[in-house]
Symmetry: C2
Subunit: 226 residues, 2 copies
DNA sequence: ACCCCTTTTTGAACGCGTTTAAAAAATACG
DNA sequence: CGTATTTTTTAAACGCGTTCAAAAAGGGGT
């Protein structure tokens, strides 16, 4: 216990020093300009030592994605506690994440380039990122299950996963969004979640159920992970 | 005229030699292993000379995307001539493209990594790729306008652009598809176009029109290009 | 204090995409 | 034909992410 803690202490500290240096350089100069040599230097290390702590440069930036997920949990939970309408809950879950990720907007583009390489370990669909994905889907499930909206039975179970993929698409849009503070994405979230909730409402009508269930079935069969 | 033709002849030939060498190496060894030095050597050039003809390595691979678009035009037009149902027409336009692109499946992933870098000139939403994008949208417009289906008036005009974005998403799915010959993507095209056509049919019902028009309005306001 | 084993760091190198100044080849023109 | 201009090629270099064998540092057991 104490042994292990002591054992790992050095590594954890160095790791944190690298992360601090990286973030500073990323924010000041962007991902490309923040070379591993500069990061190493600012951390008081040689490049080789840096690679002892992080497998690749991309793994450094992936850490900030994980961190943004962790950081959004508190405001996200607060939203869930204060709202019952599905629309507000889902909008809240997504917007709180975008909020905490805002400082990383520029550098996240670099991560996206990695994420969009099919088969890459850091892709959002990969095995390596499974835990984070499933945590996120669980949170969305809380958002769905705790809502006051009436959701068609055949859909409710699968909705969280669909919303997760939807969230990924929103994040992609956000990365491409060049408006100040990415405010256009915020509006898109409002408008598109509104549309999703409307579709769910319509799905409660007897004639429409088959359409929504077809959509859910399509997702279930073709979802790009697992 | 003749002068200009003669003028460009050398460059065009060399360009083609580079493309031939690139394709050979891409297919044999993949994008990463096909280094610019090897491409140059196989073309009988030095790396510097290769860069005289192609701005970056990515521009070489972008050429194959352009070519796949050109190559799919003939079978695509044949499909349009032989089918009137919207579903068949749209499915045909997308599947013919996937068909001709099949040999480039592996190497297209590298292009996608570029395409998914926000702001990159070779992104599908960029100014530099505008011509190709607009050509493709025009073709999809032919597919829509020549169909026998009754399409709600407020939607028909915008449908081609929406279908183009849909096609982009299909291509992304195709890139991630690891099934043999990407046959899963083919099924996805069938199933999802079916769903789109169903939605259009439902949209003709008076109560549903507002929903579809909302969807179209959303796209129009938030489309990620122009 | 010593040895042993693991963790961490070093320094040099590799191969990559790309750039560049200068040379060479091709072409245009009087 | 000879000269001026443009197009193409060369050879060398740059900085990058990354790797690796060897050295150093750290820590436990005797």
């Amino acid at each position: 216990m104490t042994m292990n803690a002591t054992k790992n202490q050095k590594a954890a500290e160095t790791r944190q020093r690298i992360l601090d240096a990286s973030l500073k350089l990323f924010l000041e100069t962007g991902y490309e300009q923040a070379t591993m040599r500069k990061i190493a230097q600012l951390s008081g290390l040689t490049p080789g030592a840096t690679y002892y702590h992080f497998k690749t440069k991309e793994h450094i930036i992936f850490h900030f994605y994980e961190k943004s997920y962790q950081d959004h949990l508190e405001p996200a939970r607060a939203t869930l506690n204060n709202n019952k309408a599905l629309k507000t809950r889902i909008t809240g879950l997504i917007k709180t994440h975008l909020d905490v990720a805002r400082p990383y907007h520029q550098i996240s583009k670099a991560l996206f380039r990695v994420a969009s390489t099919p088969g890459h370990p850091l892709s959002p669909f990969s095995e390596e990122t499974r835990e984070l994905r499933e945590e996120n889907i669980s949170l969305l499930r809380e958002g769905v299950n705790g809502s006051s909206d009436r959701i068609p039975s055949g859909i409710k179970d699968k909705l969280p996963e669909i919303l997760w993929l939807f969230k990924i698409l929103i994040i992609i849009y956000w990365l491409f969004d060049t408006t100040p503070d990415q405010e256009k994405t915020d509006r898109l979230v409002d408008r598109s979640v509104d549309l999703i909730v409307r579709l769910l409402a319509i799905s409660n009508l007897p004639g429409m159920k088959s359409f929504s269930e077809r959509l859910v079935g399509l997702f279930e069969e073709f979802k790009p992970y697992q």
